[in-house]
């Protein structure tokens, strides 16, 4: 059976070149970067090289990059770090209703500790409005955290415009910072911290064809935050703990390759996604795209199929070798529709039927065509079972033309 991986937003396969780069640091180059001897300095030099590469990917200076364990830790350090450090200036945070669960969880936790959190809507297009951010800003707002691209529908948020707004406030004397979670965006579009005018930016390596377990937080020079991992001098006191050297090296190589190949990768997945969506339109009825189609990451297509439930479709596709994901879950008899799809104003049925197809740099036309072969059958199998579909068909048959 052909196996097709259409879940690159969840994680990406590790690039062979990245594996080659990290292997020596799993074997003979094992030194602790904090050690003064040769072994240590060899590792230190490798970590420094990786830091330059990750910095270069987002237009930052190397000493503005903090290596840590991944996107969730980066979001924790950014949001909690700024809020704990600057609580005396205010206790108000602005975020959106479609952030990654880590940001959502951190903001919920702040809410339980006497912080006020404003969660902005994203409307049907899945994009936050700059005027809403402007209206939500208060004299006691210390942090605005808005993701650069959404993890479920791929919509790109107006972070640069929000950044300009925050700069105006700062010029007027307010103590306020902007964080953006760029974990999904970094592999799909050019990211530049100065263009975005952000103060903090989260990255994760495993979305860029590197292994899991490593990420980075960009911290603009001069921004102070309370470290969340204390007890070590690493990462300029911002994140204690011996660096995961092989993973950091892998991240550096993945960042270098991403920087060099990004445009070609983006063009490749955009073309294949167009082929995929044209094929779905020709073969399947009664579906809706989720999120603004013009303003999204090039490799992501999120579709709700009416009358069927996402997990059933996912398993049906999986049994035919196609890996996708759904944001919804039904658990212990209570429905947990995707908060992201619900934030677009979709009803429960559409939110339950959402499937994310995310393509990658090594996806082929043949794989797209295979998915187009099995997907309509899987949807049809589930619809034949669906009382909702049968009812809709009867109603349609009874409606005069």
């Amino acid at each position: 059976m052909l196996r097709v991986y259409f879940d690159h937003s969840a994680t990406t396969p590790v690039d062979r070149r990245v594996v080659e780069a990290m292997l020596p640091y799993l074997t003979e180059k094992f030194g602790n970067p904090s050690s003064v001897h040769f072994y240590g300095q060899e590792s230190r030099a490798a970590v420094d090289r990786a830091r330059r590469e990750v910095a270069s990917l987002v237009g930052a200076r190397p000493n503005e990059i903090v290596f840590l364990s991944g996107g969730t830790e980066a979001n924790n350090l950014a949001i909690r770090g700024v809020c704990e450090q600057h609580a005396e200036h205010g206790r108000h945070v602005i975020t959106t209703s479609i952030e990654h669960s880590s940001v959502r969880g951190i903001c919920d936790a702040l809410g339980r500790r006497d912080w006020e959190v404003t969660r902005l809507p994203v409307y049907e297009e899945g994009v936050v409005r700059v005027e809403d951010v402007r209206a939500a800003l208060r004299p006691d707002t210390v942090l605005v955290t808005v993701m650069l691209a959404n993890n479920e529908v791929g919509t790109v948020q107006p972070v640069a415009e929000i950044g300009a707004l925050i700069r105006e406030r700062r010029a007027a004397g307010q103590k306020i910072w902007l964080h953006t979670d760029a974990v999904q965006a970094a592999g799909g579009l050019r990211v530049d911290v100065d263009e975005l005018a952000c103060d903090l930016l989260s990255l994760s390596a495993h979305k860029l064809y590197a292994p899991k377990g490593v990420g980075a937080l960009y911290v603009r020079r001069g921004v102070r935050l309370a470290p969340q991992n204390v007890g070590g001098h690493q990462e300029r006191e911002r994140r204690g703990g011996t660096e995961a050297v092989p993973l950091v090296v892998a991240f550096g190589e993945a960042a270098r390759l991403t920087r060099l190949e990004l445009d070609a990768r983006a063009e490749h997945v955009r073309r294949l996604r167009e082929r995929f969506e044209a094929g779905v339109e020709a073969r399947v009825s009664d579906f809706v795209y989720n999120g603004d189609r013009a303003r999204r990451l090039p490799g992501v297509s999120n579709i709700s199929f009416r009358y069927v439930e996402g997990e059933g479709l996912l398993i049906n596709l999986d049994m035919q070798g196609v890996a996708v994901s759904t944001g919804s879950a039904c658990s212990s008899g209570s429905l947990e529709p995707s908060p992201v799809i619900r934030a677009l104003g979709r009803d429960d049925e559409l939110a339950r039927g959402s499937i994310r197809f995310s393509l990658g740099k090594d996806t082929t036309e043949g794989e797209v065509d295979y998915v187009l072969e099995v997907l309509p059958r899987a949807v049809e199998t589930l619809r034949r079972l669906s009382p909702l579909y049968q009812k809709a068909r009867t109603e349609r048959a009874c409606t005069p033309a």
């Binding site: 879950a329 034949r384 079972l385």
Partner: protein
Amino acid sequence: MAYSDTLKDHLANPRNAGTLADADAEAEQSNPVCGDRLRLSLRLGSGRIEAARFLAYGCPPTLACGSALAGMLEGMTLEEAARVTRERVTEAVGGLPARKRHAASLAIETLRAALESLTRGAF
């Protein structure tokens, strides 16, 4: 969420899917919280359930339990059908994760409602 191969097979190759034009009993039950929905149609003959069909909307266990239930009902007497339990349906789909046990409950509620419609009717 790990599902058994049996459950997945019911999902890919549902047994007894559909409705019966000449059904003697029909019932549709739903879980008001999660929206899962199961419809069961039964036709009787010679004191037994001659045909059983199901339609379902919802998570994979709900679909699989509908398929397994409809399959096992055919050939049963009404008394045997009334004795089918949640555990038996669960077993027929190769077990259910703890968080998905409500799917078998919905299957049994729908069966009971269908049987009740029979006792209220002409049979």
